[in-house]
């Protein structure tokens, strides 16, 4: 559920491939046909999608960590059950996406190992800490809200298995955003301290959430290819603007202030935000965000501690298969 536009397309190397096949492929894309796993596709299309879908899957899995932090400390049983269900959904979304990525030819194990080795990225937003309960509300409202903006157009992505996975994800996502906003409404109707907690969470998450849409159009070099291949249907800035326009009235309803004193509404009704600090974004992507090391350490620990389960399950399956063969031979 948490894609991020940090995916850059491979440079188009169709010159090296069969020009006729490449032209036929582009014609299928232009005709809005879906590309399926066994269809011919340019190597760069395969590589771009493998990277984008696997990064998306890693983001779902790492995204369980900041929220999982609050499951045992949720304020009520209702909130706890909802948060647990949401974190389970994130895990499920990760699995749908790994399955979609695998149809391009890499195994899930290879993809997971690349992430654990630090060779594959995940969304930078999960490198920020969840300091208070209000952060759980803000993540649902804003992080899931931004993810939905990004993911709805992906339901029409040219690659069939990715588009189908996104349809499932989007159906489940709406609950996440609503549960987050409900937490915010409750806090904002509560005591002064609770409202201050909600405002503090918004202050800390606002700018990192805007960065989730990726670098500004003027500096993102490869989106032309992704657009031509209909992997990407809207530019980073277009999606970011849509998100801001949808979010400002929601913040106003809560009585919260968006931490951007320079924000103005233009004649067309769009909310114009101030310059984003892209140095911070680059730092977080480079591994220097507040929680990068924690997140990687937690993922590696979970993977290592699960090794005996994988081994035991494989040994059991092998034993059963052997017994069946022996019985069949009798």
């Amino acid at each position: 559920m948490y894609t991020q536009a940090l995916n850059t397309a491979e440079t188009d190397d169709r010159g090296l491939e069969d020009a006729g096949k490449a032209a036929q492929f582009q014609a299928r894309i232009d005709a809005e046909e879906r590309i399926e796993p066994n269809d011919w596709m340019p190597a760069a299309y395969r590589k771009t999608l493998t990277r984008q879908i696997s990064q998306h899957a890693h983001s779902e899995i790492v995204g369980m960590l900041p929220e999982g932090n609050w499951i045992t400390r949720a304020p009520t049983l209702r909130r706890k059950a909802a948060l647990l269900a949401k974190v389970q959904d994130e895990c499920g979304h990760g699995l749908y996406l790994y399955a979609a990525a695998e149809t391009l030819g890499s195994s899930r194990e290879e993809l997971v190992d690349a992430m654990l080795a630090g060779k594959a990225k995940y969304s930078s937003i999960f490198n920020y800490p969840t300091l208070t309960w209000a952060d759980i509300g803000t993540i649902g409202w804003l992080v899931d809200g931004a993810a939905i903006m990004n993911q709805i157009p992906l339901c029409r992505c040219s690659y069939g298995p990715y588009a189908r996975a996104m349809i499932r994800v989007c159906k489940e996502e709406s609950f996440h955003q609503r549960q987050g906003y409900e937490i915010m409404v409750t806090l904002c109707r509560g005591s002064d301290e609770q409202k201050a907690m909600a405002q503090d969470a918004l202050n800390r998450w606002w700018w990192p959430v805007l960065m989730m849409f990726g670098p500004p159009d003027a500096t993102s070099q490869h989106s032309d290819t992704s657009t031509k291949w209909k992997i990407k249907r809207f530019s980073n800035d277009e999606l970011r603007q849509k998100f801001v326009d949808a979010t400002v009235p929601q913040a106003q309803y809560l009585g919260l202030t968006i931490p951007d004193p320079g924000m103005t509404q233009d004649a067309a009704g769009h909310w114009r935000y101030s310059e984003i600090d892209w140095t911070e974004f680059k730092q977080v992507l480079a591994g220097n965000g507040p929680c990068n090391r924690d997140r990687m350490a937690a993922r590696r620990k979970a993977h290592d501690e699960g090794a005996w389960v994988r081994e035991a399950a494989a040994a059991y399956a092998a034993k059963r298969a052997q017994r069946q063969t022996a019985q069949a031979a009798e």
Binding site: E36, N38, D39, W40, A85, Q88, D89, G92, L95, Y96, A99, E102, S107, R108, E109, E110, V112, D113, R164, A165, R168, E172, H303, R310, A313, A314, Y316, A317, R320
Partner: protein, 95 residues
Amino acid sequence: MATPNTPLWEVFIRSRNGLAHKHVGSLHASDATMALQAARDIYTRRGEGLSIWIVPSAAITASDPAEKGMMFEPAESKIYRHPTFYEVPEEVGHM
């Protein structure tokens, strides 16, 4: 050390009585029992199904999309298999 691969399974779910099982996706599991449980957890968290089938992905034989022209040509040319091919006088009414 690289993580060893776990077998892949295809998941089919019958969502309501009277409907056919429909392919919903795939998953990894070391055996059929675990695949069935994982399918329940991954694909039916909101009551999406009454019945689940799981099939080892390796057991599926698929047609080659590159050959689809030749594969489906026999049906393409037989428009007389469709009811609209036949003319029935209007006075006869709906048939």
